[in-house]
């Protein structure tokens, strides 16, 4: 699995602690590397669990979950696209099941999946204005505020030079979320 993931030329690759995150691996890919990665995953027998979005300060993060049927090996693949041009190539030619997940993500976030065989709205009415899960710019958190590597037991295997999306955020005044990600009891009790 590790060799396979390294061969995808990821921007970032980490082995996760499944007891804490439910994930086995996290991979950041450049948008153009996605289709090739999907083909590798299909050849390895992984199935597609879901595709969804995450609206963060740095852009729209498109998240793919794959898992194996023979052994647990959930891979979270993240692809970051800019807010003003959220576009990524479709993987429906590889994983037929991606078609609906991509249409749903297009409905919720306005992401354009180039090459989707049927890019009609799936769950939203046709002609609807706006995207329900996009956040107001002021409400956006940084990716590192939610998914930072630190404090979740992840072992970083590769990080491209200049890849800083997941570095622990610098403490900002008055922001509780800037605490290290894993201080469960205290953080949860202070409500």
């Amino acid at each position: 699995m590790e060799t396979m993931l390294r061969a995808l030329n990821p921007l970032y690759l980490a082995r996760e602690d499944a007891t804490r995150t439910g994930l086995a691996w996290t991979v950041h890919l450049a948008p153009q590397a996605l289709q090739g990665a999907a083909r590798v995953f299909l050849d390895a027998g992984l199935h597609l669990e879901d595709i969804c979005g995450l609206d963060v300060k740095e852009g729209l993060c498109i998240v793919y979950h794959f898992d194996g049927m023979e052994a647990f090996s959930r891979v979270e693949v993240r692809v970051m696209v800019p807010h003003d041009a959220p576009e990524v190539s479709s993987i429906a030619a590889v994983y037929a099941g991606a078609e609906w997940h991509e249409r749903e993500t297009a409905d919720f976030y306005g992401v354009v999946f180039t090459g989707n065989p049927n890019p009609a709205p799936l769950l939203m009415p046709e002609g609807m204005q706006g995207y329900p899960l996009c956040k107001e710019p002021s409400a956006r958190a940084s990716l590192a505020a939610t998914c930072a590597t630190e404090g979740r037991g992840a072992e970083v295997l590769h990080s491209e030079d200049g890849f800083t999306l997941l570095d622990a955020p610098a403490p900002a005044p008055g922001a509780k979320q800037e605490k290290p990600a894993r201080k469960p009891k205290e953080a949860a009790d202070d409500a």
Binding site: T19, R20, T21, G22, L23, L42, G45, L46, H47, L48, E49, D50, C52, L54, V63, H65, D67, M69, A71, F72, R74, E76, Y95, A96, G97, E99, W100, H101, F108, N118, A120, P121, L122, L123, M124, P125, E126, P132, L133, A141, A145, T146, C147, A148, G151, R152, K176, Q177, K179, A181, R182, K183, P184, K185, A187, A188, D189, D190, A191
Partner: protein, 389 residues
Amino acid sequence: MRDPEARQGTPTGDGYTCRFEQGAREGTLILNMGPQHPSTHGVLRVLLELDGEYIVRAEPVLGYLHRMHEKMGEVKAAGQFMPNMGRVDYLHALAWNWAYAGAVERLADIKVPERAEYLRVIVTELNRISSHLLWWGAYLLDLGAFTPIMYAFDDREKLLDILQIPTGSRLTYSYFRFGGVYADVPDSFTQRIREFIPHMRSRLPMYKALVTDNMILRHRIEDVGIIPEEMCVRYGATGPVVRGAGVPYDVRRAEPYGIYDRFDFDIPVHTECCSMARYMVRIDEMEQSLRIVEQAVAQLPAGDHVNAKAPKPTGKLPAGETYFAVEGARGKIGVWLVSDGGKTPYRVKLRAPGFSNLHLFAECARGTLLADAVAILGSLDMVIPEIDR
């Protein structure tokens, strides 16, 4: 039949029909099955292109029951979102309870007391049986057999009476709490389960003799709707669909959660890939759920039903992300929970098994008879609110 030339003129129907018509062959008929067709169980619409009685193309059209649960998850405190879970899939509500509670507990590192772990298993497995019973009755109703659903509802009623004792509801359960369950159970609960297990075991052979071995049913669903393993992988189909294709994939084994690793049970697998195989998987699973419940009731320890130190349901979650999967009656349920440490979760993604299972219908139905479409759709055990979320 509509004049093929009419397709060249002013389009009729909505955007989905218009687009679907454009790829149609000459001399075929475009038919909208649903969204108010009795065999689509809720409001599923399937666009069909028919050549005589044969399906040339099919396209499910979703969204009629879409409620944007994922948005609700972002605007409510974590605990306030729990009642939504019973409304996502009303037939196996407790599995969805578990998926969401599990995600929160994993993120916030909340421990669950032993007794609560056992109660979770008991109610979730009973709920799985009640889901399979309703599917069984409704599927046979779709296929033209009226009587079985009467038997199924008789047994299901007993289950709902039992589940009502701790949960207080009969369908849209909201029984799980972060760190345990809502209420402890009285002795009458375990007593009634002990009575129910032999009763159900006496019914299953009758169902086999009455329905499963019936030649009319077998001719109707055997070798119909072939879904091989390769197709399941491409679509992400799980649950009885993939186990009917010979793959022993079950989240309770592949990624054990709760205390499922303590019980002795089998993962029923059938290799024929047809509607009958999926039918048999669900029938066999009822006995396996009974086995699990039997063991769990026998081992049920005394103690707390909820972790008293668990954070308040309206409390903040720590920042981070977590994925939690459980085995629902229809397959792998997944909750991807992302928190930035704020008052409400930052993102709640709900992975519904029915969504992926239904998607492959278009490919699977190609070239089959229209009447078989009903046999195939029913064999996928759809719950439309779960698919649309």
